[in-house]
Structure formats: structure tokens, C-alpha cells
Point group: C2
Chain length 197, copies 2
């Protein structure tokens, strides 16, 4: 998605070879017009999948997921993150480790909002090691719902998450795919391909 | 806002005289079409205010705030909630106590995203005792920005938050105003007025 890639080039801050900060339009300040375009793009990519529900995780997944939900005309459910959860039989839970923050959170979704009749797209802002996405997959699978795919705003393709999810058989649709953050610069997968031609 | 009031009547769960659960369309599962209508309504109410930025708080404020931001064509900044914050001179912070959850969180916003040139609307999902809204007010005031008003999806008018904010001179625009949750039933302010006529 060119609009997104241009925005990452312009406003993203490369903090290290692994860390890209997009606080100015996605993770802290949010650009609603960009979110709408992102939601529209997700909706187009999954338009023929008979989606009935979108599942995301608080907080940065919510804006792109709600816009996708608007265009697909389906509800969005967001998983909550907690340091620890009191046991509650109405909740489906999973454990998610964040390498960036070096902390493990329990994530949860109420049983009420996903059923085995649902066909789900999981949407999140970033995909790196795939911990959050796999946590969401685990929760959705507990309900018996089908997972039609995983929609990611920014994939760090040099980390293993996307590849591993594809090996598990999931369709992964990432709107921007980063090949490298070396030398303080963002290089996208398609730029790398162009260099090779 | 009739659409919202009807939805609250239909899908809200009154858990006690103080607690209304709207998990099925606002706080856990989100109805994107309703969010769009809510965003449009906020945008109309603040259309003449020269708004440059919307400020909200994770997680349930994000969806209505992003839709309002879309219609007002301004960025949205969401405050993050943490049990405790490591001191960081780039952050503006405030302390927010939640009576519902009986916990106090630090909330924070990066200094970069609000300046004294901004004219801000604060948006949140609920207004009861006004703790979260006052925390956001405090943060925005630290930047020197002007607060044009506070937009609330659901106001529990029988609790003191809205009145107190108005006494402090703030314009409070609440889309649904609940007079009472007595007898397991939602009564809106306008219904109470109609009864009196």
C-alpha cells in the first residue's frame, strides 16, 4: 500500500535495526484519514471471504480494525491485555510475550462475542515475532470459529512472525512489508525486489 | 442522539444502580457503523470550534474519537494508561482513579503531539465521576492548548462528573444522558423531562 509506505518513510523513526516508531500516525497519535484508507484496503483484500467478525487487540489495533469493520460491515472485538487475569469462565484467554517491552500479558475476549459460526479476520498494527497474532489465533480457535486470515498494518518481514504464521497455513495480508531497518533506513520488500531486477 | 439511546435500551445491561454494561457495541465488541454516526455527531457539535486535535484515552475512547477525527479532519491522540510510569521528560502525565475498577492509573501523552497552538476536544466513552476526563483536562492544560469542549458518548448524569466539569467552565457534549439506572432500567434525561410535562 503506497500511501502507507510513503507515510512510514516520511514520519517513521528508525530507533534501531529492530525498532521502528510510528507514534505520529498509528500508535499514539492516529491519522484517521490514513486509518480509513487502511480499513478500506483490508476490506478489499478480504471482501470475498464471507467475514462475519474482526478480532484485534488493544490499543493500537483498534483504529485500523474499526475502519475495516466499517467497510466489511461487521462488528469488531478487541482483546484486552492484563498483567494478570482473575479466572472467569466467561473469558477466553491466552498469554502474549512482548519482546519490545519485555513483558508478558494475559489477553482475553469474552466468549459471548465469537462463536463457531463466525468467520474471522484478525487485524493488528505490527507483526514482528508474531506473539500477539498467535495469541489471538489461539483465542479464536478456542471458539471453533474459522480464521479467514490475518491483516497486518506493518510487517517486519526480517523477523519470523509472518513466515511462521504462513507455515501454519494462515493467509497473512500485510499492507507494508519491511525488509530491513539497517543504517537507520526503512527498506520495503518491494524496493528490495526492484533492486534485484 | 436517538440511534445511540435506542441501542443502549436494546443492548445495554444494567448491572446495578450505578453500572451499565455496553460491552456488545462500545467497550469490548464495537459496532463500527454506530461509531461512524457517533463521530459524525461529535463533529457536527464542534464544527464551528476550529478544532485542531482530538484527545482521548485507551481503549474504549479510541473508536469514537477516530471517527470524530475523520469528520473533523484532525489527528487523534490517545493517552496511555499504566499502573506506574517510569519518569520520562517527554511525557505529560496525570493520575486517574477508576471507581468501577477501584484502581489508580497513571495516564500519559507525549509532549510532541499537543502544543499551545492546539484547540482540543477531549472525547471519551463514559462520563460518571469525571476522573478520566479531568485527568485528560489536566494533561492538555499542561501543554497550554485550549480546550474547546468535552465530547462523551454516554453520560451518567446522576453522577457528579458532568456537572463539575460544567462548573469549571467546560462545554460538555454528551450524546446519551442517563438520568437513572434504577429498577434495572435505563431512563434518559429527555424521557424524565417528558414525564414531567
Amino acid at each position: 500500500m503506497n500511501l502507507l509506505e510513503e507515510r512510514i518513510k516520511r514520519d517513521g523513526k528508525v530507533l534501531s535495526e529492530n525498532v521502528l516508531k510510528v507514534d505520529s500516525f498509528l500508535n499514539h497519535q492516529i491519522d484517521p484519514v490514513l486509518m480509513l484508507e487502511i480499513g478500506k484496503e483490508f476490506a478489499e483484500r478480504f471482501a470475498k471471504e464471507g467475514i462475519t467478525k474482526i478480532v484485534t487487540i488493544e490499543s493500537s489495533g483498534i483504529a485500523p480494525a474499526v475502519m475495516a469493520g466499517y467497510y466489511l460491515n461487521v462488528p469488531v472485538v478487541f482483546a484486552r491485555k492484563r498483567k494478570s487475569l482473575t479466572l472467569n469462565e466467561d473469558l477466553l484467554t491466552s498469554s502474549v510475550h512482548s519482546f519490545t517491552k519485555n513483558e508478558t500479558n494475559e489477553i482475553s475476549i469474552s466468549k459471548k462475542y465469537i462463536t463457531e459460526m463466525d468467520r474471522v479476520v484478525i487485524i493488528d498494527d505490527f507483526l514482528a515475532n508474531g506473539q500477539a497474532a498467535r495469541g489471538l489465533v489461539e483465542i479464536v480457535q478456542q471458539t471453533g470459529a474459522e480464521i479467514a486470515g490475518i491483516g497486518i498494518v506493518i510487517e517486519k518481514s526480517f523477523q519470523p512472525g509472518a513466515e511462521e504464521l504462513k507455515e501454519l497455513g494462515f493467509r497473512v495480508e500485510s499492507l507494508a512489508r519491511i525488509a530491513s531497518l539497517k543504517n537507520g533506513e526503512v527498506t520495503f520488500i518491494n524496493e528490495k525486489v526492484e533492486e534485484l531486477i
